[in-house]
Assembly symmetry: C2
Homo-oligomer: 244 residues x 2
DNA sequence: GGGCGAGGTGTACGGCGTACACCTTCGATA
DNA sequence: TATCGAAGGTGTACGCCGTACACCTCGCCC
């Protein structure tokens, strides 16, 4: 059901030479997303993108105001890939599924987290997503008050990502150097080494390579959702700030 | 206003009343932090920074390898401001205090979150901080396994910040336009408007300006810490992944 | 056929990070 | 005291970047 972008109803006499399809915002954004997927966001430049589209750099500016707006548009493209919410009485499960769907969409575009976090204004579709996510909490009976704080607490996790702050460095390939580095690390940062090697599937490799991102994400998400549920059940309200 | 940090203007002809103190890595990093605090991280350039130090741009490269390393160094300066851990039997309270201390340090440098998240390698002092934070959980009796996932779940919150994804836009000053925008928003994003106006101290202003960042941060931190404590008390281990 | 507006081009500017060759300074040494 | 070498600072230049601005080229409608 691919609907032709160019309706052409009423076009007269199909001339043999096809008119070159003109650029439009949609094509520009899609190309930008595709290019960033391949070369990374740091290597995405207006010149780059224009070249990929077979067009002069300045042509892009007829369709996006500037690079910031291009990035906004790219975010919109990605967010549009998130599944709509599932109806049902189980708000916690529904939110969980939706956030994991967001995660799924974002994982296809490794540059997205960084770009999302750099936006200063939310594009409409982003507001749509947040609005409907809020609606899921409210429909589950959470107060507007609690939902407010819950959304803040979710933070970037509502997009299905957690910025990995300072990812574990890759150990050197050379086994001798690796052994030395490992020994050194165990002395300097004993606790880091201790937890890096804990609870891994493959206990074989000394340095914790086997970290399961998906598990870590769901672990954190569930801690949060369970906490939200508990607060909801005990009738939490921000008036009880003095709880502590 | 002094143009350069080192007031020895001119000094042509050689009779330097003040021997110019040579640059060093420390001074470069401190100047960079100070400059970023004032003009923002986007306006921090090597040229900029050099000018502030009264020196040619390329002089900086005798003290830092490149701009990335400069940013690494700036992060180190900020992380060094975090208080050491308090000893004591209450791991949860101690972690809480430490993280809030980190938050306090980071709040003095608004650019820090963005730069921290852009680092690909952790400088030694950063590893020190993580190592000692991990040590606090372990000292509290949490298993290495649980602590591992707990650290992931904390994520950037261990640095005392949560990247505000898509901050609420400032309403226009013009009260007429603001009213129109508000009406429009209430129609398009009813849930957002509902929670934005919920639980605020100043119920007067229609659009939620009164969001208390510190409260939101502590709310989320406590949900997480309470969750960690609960899992610890019930002897959680990653072997019980099938819990759900 | 004349005008018009949308879309595409070419040139140019100022900014960036930084490679590279050079110069200056100064303390250690002969 | 003369010399030298290294550490620290400079000047120039290159290749990127985003984008302002004037221009050109269509295809459409009166």
């Amino acid at each position: 059901m691919s609907r032709t972008e160019n309706g052409t109803h009423g076009e007269k006499g199909g001339s043999a030479r096809f008119p070159r399809i003109p650029l439009n915002r949609e094509r520009v954004l899609r190309a930008a997303v595709g290019l960033a997927d391949v070369v990374g966001i740091d290597s995405l430049s207006m010149r780059n993108l224009a070249q990929g589209l077979g067009v002069a750099p300045m042509a892009l500016y007829k369709h996006v105001a500037n690079k910031e707006e291009l990035l906004d548009g790219m975010v919109s493209v990605v967010v549009a890939e998130i599944d709509p919410p599932l109806p049902g009485p189980d708000w916690k499960g529904a939110v969980r599924e939706r956030v994991l769907s967001a995660r799924h969409a974002l994982l296809r575009h490794p540059w997205a987290p960084q770009v999302i976090e750099s936006r200063t204004q939310a594009p409409p579709i982003v507001l749509d997503y947040m609005n409907s996510l809020i609606g899921m909490f409210l429909a589950g009976g959470l107060s507007a008050d609690l939902t407010h704080h819950v959304m803040h607490a979710l933070g970037s996790r509502m997009w299905g990502f957690t910025q990995e702050v300072f990812p574990t460095p890759q150990p050197p390939a050379n086994p001798e150097a690796r052994e030395a580095m490992f020994r050194q690390a165990a002395e300097t940062y004993p606790h880091i080494v201790q937890i890096a090697t804990a609870g891994l599937h493959d206990e074989g490799s000394a340095v914790g390579r086997g970290c399961d991102d998906q598990f870590e994400f769901e672990f954190a998400l569930d801690v949060l959702l369970d906490g939200f549920e508990r607060l909801h059940n005990q009738g939490w309200s921000s008036a009880s700030r003095a709880q502590r």
